[in-house]
Symmetry: C2
Subunit: 306 residues, 2 copies
């Protein structure tokens, strides 16, 4: 459930209206909701991708199907959940079955198999409009239950997996959602708060801070900047890209300093882990440059002031 | 999960590819899937509605939101499930929040409250295309578990709730999904097979017969034809409308003759119940006219031959 910036206010509008419900212990405001079904707890998230927004008309349909599921897998990962079953809705152009719908499903199915996820059902429709795909993914909590956005404490260390920025060069279609890493982390340490980076490090850090009611300092030299971000042309610096490009689908999480040290000493997997900052009291969020200068880090990213 | 006729072959293509999965005891081929989450069983269904196909650009947004949830409620009803939580994805025109998205949510929320359904989350997106809404609905089985399409036996009586045909005159936006009726029926009798009528009585009867491997006879005089079907202009007769208009969102189900008689003698609710035919051995599906003439009843409906 990624949130384009312009929609944040609307999400708050819905959230404020949503009455508490006995069946929904975790509702709007996390990467996935938790629904209580009988004696079981079910994680659920939805991602809708639209032609011209999340992919191009010329994007291979296999990659579109793959991305739709991968984005949802990343949401379940952000709760340290185990994905189980997907429901796939499509609005596709008339007579596009061979050209578009079948390869789209094949791309989706291949990723589903890799994560042992079933395709449980769906709703396939034809129209004259552009391609729209919605994947709703169900999963189950692991270990001590879902990891949320709201548990970050002052003093916590802030970590990210992988490398950030420049996703549009290719990673936004080929990324491997961090499902296994999240489950491993949940087993290895006490995760205080976690989110996936879909809107960009700065924006998603702000989501985590807002939910937790805390601030943060981020060390610019510690941010793992991807080669793609360094190679991309344009006015944005590589650091700005890592802070605001979005669609990284990496994990951003906080742990106590003791457990942070333990993670760095013995990482539970090969995916890079970077200690990029600390949680602080108050609500300020600041970037500390290598020279020691501190500047506010806004949700919309960061621009080096001259 | 309604199925426009042109998509049946595609659904079979997906179904044939879907590997059995431990977490999905009921997958593609029923009104909802059943997903096993830990120790709980979760019903899940999705319905995607598109502007120009399922509603018009001038349809009040409240009605669009209502219909999107109502269609999914009808799917959960067809399994005799209790709906619990909805996840709502939207692709909406830019800058349409006040005009479109808010009233859409209000319509959806009002129906959700009436059925004690939580809105657990969603994904709201802006684009330049027409409005698309997808509702994924989670629910839990009631009584002896989900009622499926595949249990009809030769000799069973065939019932429908409500009245059929002419839904486009208004009912397709205002119908009350038969959630309560389905749960009452499931409590009162042994439901052998059930489906909701979204594609039309003839088409959905064929779905039920195909899954059960049986045939049926339907008595034309017993079909409850709506006033809307009688009043509608055009070449289709009221009976043809009742058989093939679709979007009735009524229940079609089979029970033993003994239980059928009991239902007619003491209906468990005020919604009309009509005994419209019987299940027979073999795979033929026939309509018996008042004059006694028998003609094949095809999935695509029935046209009176002169």
């Amino acid at each position: 459930m990624a949130e384009p910036r312009s929609e944040f206010a609307f999400i708050e509008w819905i959230r404020a209206r949503a009455a508490p419900h006995h069946a929904v212990p975790i509702g709007i405001g996390d990467d996935a909701a938790l629904v209580r079904i009988g004696s079981g707890d079910c994680l659920v998230t939805a991602d809708m991708l639209m032609e011209g927004i999340d992919f191009l008309a010329e994007t291979p349909p296999r990659d579109v199907g793959r991305k739709a599921l991968a984005a949802s897998l990343s949401d379940i990962a952000a709760m340290a959940g185990r994905p189980l079953a997907a429901v796939v809705s499509l609005a596709a152009p008339q007579d596009s079955r061979r050209r578009l719908i079948e390869p789209l499903y094949e791309g989706l199915e291949k990723l589903a198999r890799a994560f042992d996820v079933a395709i449980a059902g769906g709703d396939t429709n034809a129209w004259d409009g552009p391609l729209v795909i919605n994947v709703t993914l169900l999963g189950e909590p692991t270990g001590g239950g879902p990891v949320r956005r709201h548990g970050a404490c002052a003093g916590d260390w802030l970590f990210v997996t992988g490398e950030l920025g420049g996703s549009l060069a290719g990673k936004h279609l080929s990324f491997v959602p961090r499902v296994r890493e999240a489950i491993e982390l949940h087993r290895a340490v006490s995760l205080h708060a976690m989110i996936d980076i879909s809107d960009g490090l700065a924006a998603d850090l702000h989501h985590l801070l807002d939910e937790s009611g805390v601030g943060a300092v981020v060390h610019s030299a510690a941010i793992p900047i991807s080669d793609a971000a360094r190679a991309m042309p344009g006015q944005k610096s590589p650091l700005e890209r890592a802070l605001s490009d979005g669609e990284d689908f990496e994990l951003l999480f906080t742990v106590s300093p003791e457990e942070g040290r333990r993670l760095l000493a013995a990482p539970p997997f090969e995916t890079p882990l970077s200690h990029i900052g600390e949680i602080v009291e108050g609500r300020d969020c600041e970037l500390i440059e290598a020279c020691g200068r501190r500047t506010p880090l806004e949700a919309r990213g960061w621009a080096h002031s001259v």
